[in-house]
């Protein structure tokens, strides 16, 4: 009988991604309801030193595969390693992050394990001993409650939605051999180009300041960048701004861009097309600054300011600087 709540922990360059602790804490909650163990799979090279950190967030046992072929992440190597240890241990639930890596890996695992997966969940719970996963569909225009009749019941969790809570458990590290054969590994990472400026990715940001058509031109984003610098925020954009060529496609928030859930989302000069609302309405706090009082964005906003953003935003930057000094 399938047993245990498992996670696939995510690390890069020897440091855990925050989602790993969010996964561990969520798994702990589910496992306590079931009266079962939390196990983590950790793959990489030279990762033994960090494996124990997962115990702090409620992991009982860490299955660690340490192999140069597991660094950097490739689908082939990680899918083979995770599928092997999962098949050997038959967990009831398997959680991954809905990060770029987790999305790439989880689909491959669905194929290898012939099971079902709920993508990008914003809530997971146990109902009648089984996983019930809640996830936005149609970019959040409706939600689906997903049940999975096969094992493991898989889900990926949206980053930044589930709290990481310290809850010390043993975190015993068990090494396993991923048994990777050279012929299995087809793709090659030729180069990793790190983004300059060290800004946090939109999907991981705590605060996002987005600009839309109301910014009037690419040169005006500097006022959003200044506010972002004060708040430690990341700057995003609407589809209109991206399609106009003002901002990179990587900055787009919305149904055909990134779906984000920061603690604070400040929409500047964004009218709130349904396409955009779909990508940011799971933000915990929403602020809209727009001179059009009728803009649909105000219906989603916790706080709204009806005024000229070119006057309000620089003042807001000054005020925040004062408050945070």
């Amino acid at each position: 009988m399938a047993k245990g709540v498992w996670i696939v922990a995510e690390q890069r360059d020897g440091a855990f991604r925050k989602i790993s602790f969010e996964l561990a804490s969520t798994a702990r909650k589910l496992a306590d309801q079931l009266g079962e163990e939390v196990c983590a799979v950790l793959c990489g090279s030279g990762i033994e030193g960090i494996a124990g950190q997962l115990g702090k967030y409620g992991v009982d046992k860490v299955y660690a595969a340490d192999d140069p072929a597991l660094e950097p992440y490739t689908t082939d190597a990680h899918a083979a390693a995770v599928a092997k240890v999962v098949k050997e241990n038959d967990p009831a639930i398997l959680l991954l992050g809905a990060s770029t890596q987790g999305k790439d890996l989880s689909g491959r695992l669905v194929g290898k394990l012939a099971t079902g997966l709920a993508t990008d969940c914003t809530d997971v719970k146990i109902v009648d001993g089984k996983l019930l996963a809640v996830r936005p569909m149609y970019a959040g225009k409706c939600f689906g409650e997903i049940t999975i009749s096969s094992f493991p019941q898989m889900a990926t969790l949206r980053p930044n939605v589930f709290p990481a809570v310290e809850n010390a458990k043993a975190g015993t590290v068990v090494k396993f051999d991923p048994a990777l054969a050279a012929g299995q590994l087809k793709t090659k990472i030729l180069e990793v180009q790190k983004d300059t400026g060290g800004k946090v990715d939109l999907t991981e940001a705590n605060i996002i300041i987005s600009g839309g058509r109301g910014m009037k031109g690419p040169e005006n984003y500097v006022i959003l960048e200044e506010l972002a610098a004060v708040l430690g925020a990341t700057v995003g954009a609407s589809r209109a701004a991206v399609d106009a060529g003002w901002r990179s496609q990587r900055d787009q928030v919305g149904q055909t861009g990134k779906v984000v859930s920061p603690n604070l989302y400040i929409a500047c000069g964004i009218s709130g097309a349904i396409q955009h609302l779909a990508g940011m309405s799971s933000s915990k706090f929403i602020v809209a600054i727009n001179k059009d009082a009728e803009a649909p964005i105000f219906a989603k906003a916790d706080y709204g300011i009806v005024d000229d953003l070119f006057k309000v935003v620089p003042e807001l930057t000054k005020e925040c600087k004062k408050l945070l000094a």
């Binding site: 689906g144 180009q193 706080y303």
Partner: protein, 280 residues
Amino acid sequence: MADEDFGDRFQICPQVSHGKEENVNIVACVKQVPDSEAQIKVKPDGSGIEEGGIKWVMNPYDEFGLEEALRLKEKNGGEVTIVSVGPQRAMETIRTALAMGADKGIHICDPAFDGADAYVTASALAAAIKAVPFDIVFCGQRAIDDDSAQVGAVLAELLGIPQVTVVTKFEFTDGAVKVIRPIEGAQLLIECPLPCVVTAQKGLNEPRYASLPGIMKAKKKPVEVKDSAVLGVSVVSNAKVARFVPPPARAAGKIICGDGTPEGKAAELARLLREEAKVI
């Protein structure tokens, strides 16, 4: 044109060709979905969404994949086969793809596939694709209806071939695929041998519109219709949407007036964010 980040290590469309590559057999998977502007209403019993009044279009991410498929065919020669799982109306989307320049279509049409999960959908696609020669299979990185972002990867596993997902640049030279894949805080340059599955992200290209002669020609292009029995695949989904629910309602917000000046409003907002919302 060299890539802005990777320079001449990633040459897009090199001017000097080293002779025409071999013909490439290309498959493009497409799905018909509600237009991104569509309002989505959940049926009162939570069994699905109301389909009345919805404008159906080709999934935008599949369009990027299809456009890349057509460009590859134009450069290297070869054929583009469209494969789609969907009800009868999905034939319109297949015809659109043929009008854009694809050569033939396979329509996997069977009511048993309604509500199919990613594994079942990918099994059906894999069974259809195995019956045609294929070197590269393009999919959208996700469909904008169920947003599951799984089918490309499951399909690659079922075909037993590698995948490169969510790519923003694509190049095919010397028998291998080179792509750029953005991840959190970085971009990866990845090389992948054929055959493979490539899933397309926005930014890859600007999809063309179907031309009038294209639309006329599309009417005569062959489309095979297959059901689950012909494909010999299971239709039993493990993952099910037990219930559809409307999104949680947000409480009405506060319009900040302050003293009526932009300065006053900004000061009031900063104070509320700090003291009431506690988010800064």
